[in-house]
Point group: C2
Chain length 295, copies 2
């Protein structure tokens, strides 16, 4: 498929960029660099940084300006996975077929590696913004990332997610979890890319709607895949969400209805992004891909 | 003592400011707000935010500009304590006479509360910088904090500190630990305050030297207090560093020599800060206080 090939090319491009942005493994504190880079190198589709670059490109932005933000976002995403996997949280031994960070470096070092990645994300965005044109725009773009990752975004969603285990929760709360745990960061990374590319207010609104919708759909599809997916393809045990009594869309409104909701979100996302004047084919393809992915 | 009274007044002022900056305890994710605020309210002398405001004031800066940075620094300091206390790290049950965060909220929530405070620190600094004059100066000030808190600062020092337990380490490595674990953040918070106050390059250099020296002295005195202090006054078991086989100054160069090194650092710090034209009496008093404190 043409889209999947394009996604692979973009993922590989992000991999190469990440290598440049990873801390050099030298000095007394070398272990923390190794722990950070271990998880940064663990693969994945790099969707978030791709979306940052794409949001910037589609509004006519300069890619060079958007790259530090894309890198920072992948670091924040990686930190959240490292902390999520800790025994104190989900207690997962494997991620993407590899031992999780704490399994290799120990719980303490994995905690610090997560902290380090979150902090380093801001270091990168700030360092590469100092002395550049339009610092106010850069402050705004960094703020979008910070907001998306924080207590009114990703962390907020994680907290409610954890507290909702083993409980029957209402749909409003489940939507809060999905919106914040996953979508808020997708929104943050696309808004940051758009803002750094000097998006018009109208374009920014349409990008925001696209990001929110694919973020929500992504989380619903993730829930669906946990029930119907295949362990080998997913790289994590199928049914682990059910085992943990996690509140999911299929558990609350059923599998078919969940699929319908996801499809509607994707159609709305595509309608929103089509309103932009740039080349939206990749982002449209990505929306379709999210609903069709099986790995 | 006049200085101690002034310090108390300043601490109380920071306490009041912090209350304004703490997240409101409402919404689905309320538990994370409670966990953050529990540790933010746990007291302490609030040295770091006081130093930020003082560095700004001494170079003629506007206090209003420096306040968000002072608040952010206390949040970063608090996050580092929460994560330090986790079972995966130091496994401490009490801090300042109160149960540690994870003892009240559980290990997972305490991990997230730390993450949340670090992230929120950046949210505050960014949010209150957007739309203000001289955004480039603000980017620089935020970067100082990020750098001081990260892998080339506080986290870097923590990593080497953890790895050096149960080991005989050389003085160079111990100095690296002290410089990064404690002094880097003191340097970061004073430089941020000075930069936001439009310090001259010369003033900034002198403030940096002062901050580095009192930071190192602070850590050495901390090591000394762990051996000679009193449990009730310190609020933590005396000798806990020795029990953990932590590498400390007294363990490496002896108690008397450690005291001498700390005294020299303090004298140099005072010499540096006296070169500024502003009122340096509080910062001189603080340098003396660090070496004389017993609680």
């Amino acid at each position: 498929m043409a889209f999947e090939q394009e996604l692979k090319t973009k993922s590989a491009y992000i991999e190469d960029l990440l290598k440049e942005y990873m801390p050099k493994e030298e000095g007394y504190q070398n272990t923390i660099f190794k722990a950070m880079n271990y998880s940064l190198s663990a693969g994945g589709k790099r969707l978030r940084p791709i979306l940052t670059l794409e949001a910037s490109k589609i509004v006519g932005g300069n890619e060079k300006d958007a790259i530090p933000f894309a890198m920072a976002i992948e670091m924040i995403h990686t930190y959240s996975l490292i902390h999520d996997d800790l025994p104190a949280m989900d207690n997962d031994d494997f991620r993407r077929g590899k031992p999780t960070n704490h399994k290799v470096f120990g719980d303490g070092m994995a905690t610090l590696a997560g902290d380090a990645l979150l902090n380093y994300a801001f270091e990168i965005m700030l360092r590469e913004s100092i002395g550049k044109k339009n610092p106010d725009i850069r402050l705004k773009a960094i703020y979008e990332i910070a907001r998306g990752a924080g207590i009114y975004g990703m962390i907020g969603g994680q907290v409610v997610d954890i507290e909702s285990e083993d409980k029957a929760i209402e749909k409003e709360k489940l939507d809060f979890i999905h919106m914040n745990k996953t979508a808020a960061m997708i929104v943050g990374c696309m808004r940051a890319g758009a803002i750094i590319g000097y998006a018009s207010e109208e374009d920014l609104q349409n990008i925001t709607r696209y990001a929110k919708n694919i973020g929500l759909a992504f989380q619903i599809v993730d829930d669906i895949l946990d029930i119907v997916g295949d362990t080998k393809i997913l790289g994590k045990p199928v049914g682990s969400d059910l085992e943990n009594h996690k509140s999911t869309y299929p558990a609350l409104i059923g599998l078919d209805e969940s699929r319908k909701v996801a499809r509607n979100l994707i159609e709305e996302a595509k309608d929103s992004i089509k309103k932009l004047s740039g080349d939206t084919s990749f982002l449209e393809g990505l929306a379709d891909y999210i609903i069709s992915r099986d790995h």
